[in-house]
């Protein structure tokens, strides 16, 4: 039997990083994700696997350390919460522009500005529509449990290296702080220098006589070349959209109404389904696991057999725009959400469903 532990979401991320053979973590503390750095410091991964854990002087320094590590083909990551992720945006767009694989964790708190330290989902636009400047996309995974926090670390690195693209785990203060049962995986060895060279022939691993110099940059002053590069990026995002869509459905078979929700909101909606069905309202849940690529096709299919869709988010309504685009306005789509660090209760969500559709 596999080892079971009771862990916070933030701790699960940290343990998963060590076990996945991550080479480096660079971070800066901020509530509600400081346990990632704390756990890593306490576990001394430099003794367990040789993994580097460093508290940088700022978020900006941390993301640029990620840029350096990723450029050398290493498995590197950073984590922060909303205001800190905003600080990292310059580095993130440079990573996307230089096509560097890495993992970034955002344990979202309420905003704007310093906002609050309580959970929110108001960084959806920032995560899936860019955040920094330029036409780029991150691969965005949205865990809804502590187990998924653990599992998505390795998954995000696999996808990041497969596509040479930064991956972002979009979590929130609730999943970061809650404890659940976690099944712990095997310890994987960190890649050797030879393995890094094989996996990342583009990386700056030290030039030998057998190849040209590798250059890591996001700059090309020739607009013709820059357009060719942008087209290549867009083609890559299209392949990601075709191949990497992930989602979960709960009680959608006989559903007349549909909740669309990710992360903590999707957990709340599961309880709301139970409450609504006790009242005779047939509702199901569609949970996007990848927010980019957004599960457009399946949602479009489902929309054909329901009377209405309620997008439930801890925000003023962000993902609801993608839901509307996916279903092409063929079925009424409404939003329900709380803001500023307030988590809606399952009862409130059912009331919203009744008010908007019944």
């Amino acid at each position: 039997m596999k080892e079971l532990r009771l862990m916070k979401g933030n701790e699960a991320i940290a343990e998963a990083a060590i076990r996945a053979g991550v080479d480096g973590y660079f971070g800066y503390p901020i509530t509600p994700q400081s346990e990632v750095l704390e756990y890593l410091m306490l576990e001394k991964p430099e003794e367990r696997t040789g993994m580097v854990v460093l508290q940088a002087e700022s978020e900006v320094a941390a993301i640029n350390m990620v840029y350096g590590g990723a450029g050398a083909g290493k498995m590197v990551m950073t984590s922060s919460s909303s205001p800190g992720i905003s600080l990292k945006q310059e580095g993130i767009t440079y990573l996307a522009g230089a096509e560097l694989p890495c993992m970034i964790l955002n344990v979202v708190r309420g905003g704007p500005g310093l906002g609050t330290i309580q959970p929110a989902q108001s960084d959806y636009f920032q995560a899936v529509k860019g955040g920094g400047h330029g036409d780029y996309r991150l691969i965005v995974l949205a865990p809804a449990s502590v187990q998924e926090m653990y599992d998505f670390v390795e998954l995000s690195f696999d996808l990041a290296f497969k596509y040479r693209n930064p991956a972002l785990i979009l979590s929130d203060g609730a999943i970061g702080q809650m404890m659940e049962k976690v099944e712990i995986g095997e310890q994987k060895a960190r890649l050797t220098d030879a393995q890094v060279k094989e996996r990342c022939p583009w990386a700056t691993t030290g030039k030998d006589d057998n190849r040209e110099r590798n250059i890591i940059t996001s700059l090309d002053l020739d607009p013709n070349q820059q357009e060719i590069f942008n087209e290549k990026l867009q083609a890559k995002y299209k392949v990601i959209e075709e191949n990497e869509v992930r989602f979960e459905e709960i009680q959608t078979e006989d559903a007349e109404y549909l909740f669309v929700a990710y992360g903590t909101s999707s957990r709340i909606c599961q309880k709301s389904i139970q409450l609504a069905r006790e009242k005779g309202i047939k509702v199901g849940l569609f949970r996007p696991i990848t927010l980019f690529p957004f599960p457009v096709e399946r949602l479009k299919e489902l929309s054909k057999k329901v009377k209405g869709i309620l997008s439930v988010e801890m925000s003023a309504g962000q993902m609801v725009e993608d839901v509307k685009l996916a279903v092409e306005c063929k079925v009424p789509v409404e939003h329900y959400g709380r803001m500023g660090g307030i988590i809606p209760t399952p009862g409130e969500v059912v009331e919203a469903l009744e008010q908007k559709f019944l």
Binding site: L4, L6, T31, P32, I117, Q118, G173, A174, Q177, M178, M179, E180, K181, T264, R267, I268, C269, Q270, K271, S272, Q274, I343, P344, T345, P346, G347
Partner: protein, 183 residues
């Protein structure tokens, strides 16, 4: 079986660790568990509360409207959480420091004089384990042997010599819990 519990009291009373021990006990007997603290700029002496869910099935929302059981350890928590117990649910409280006792007529109410009892034990830190014992007497959702196994998992090894004292406290809790009202 799904039991949704709120434990609320002062910071430093062991509210959060009581929840953790319940969760570990649930894991030992193969159940799903969830522990969700109220987090914020809290401090010793301030209020602390944690939602614990133990279930045979996948756990849905960590945020809930109504609880099966509320374990209440100070007046502020009584004011805040008495109304959140499901009709027919259970409220367990320590009367120490309580100026307004529970008033609802549609729930089961029990008292466990844990603070007074803890003062008689080797260490008053066993307070939360006495409360846990009281809860388990009323709602035996985890077996005593699994609580001890849970304690072993949640306590760092340097405190393992404290396990017998804690075990004694849990047992004492089961003995002293009193029924106030049954519906």
């Amino acid at each position: 079986m799904t039991e949704e519990i709120i434990i609320a009291g002062f910071g430093g009373q062991g509210v959060l660790s009581m929840g953790k021990i319940m969760c570990y006990s649930g894991i030992v007997q193969g159940q799903e568990v969830m522990w969700m603290p109220s987090y914020g700029p809290e401090m010793r002496g301030g209020t602390a509360n944690v939602t614990v869910i133990i279930s045979d099935d996948r756990i849905s929302s960590p945020i809930i409207n109504e609880f099966d059981t509320a374990i209440i350890l100070n007046q502020q928590s009584m004011d805040k959480f008495e109304s959140t117990v499901k009709p027919g649910g259970t409220l367990i409280y320590d009367p120490n420091g309580i100026t307004r006792h529970p008033e609802r007529k549609d729930i089961n109410i029990y008292r466990v004089e844990a603070a007074a009892e803890a003062a008689k034990m080797e260490t008053t830190k066993t307070f939360n384990m006495i409360v846990l014992g009281g809860f388990l007497k009323i709602k035996p959702i985890v077996k005593m042997e699994n609580v001890i196994a849970g304690l072993k998992k949640s306590l760092p090894e340097r405190y393992h010599h404290m396990i017998p004292v804690n075990e004694k406290a849990v047992k004492r809790g089961t003995e002293i819990v009193q029924e106030v009202q049954k519906v």
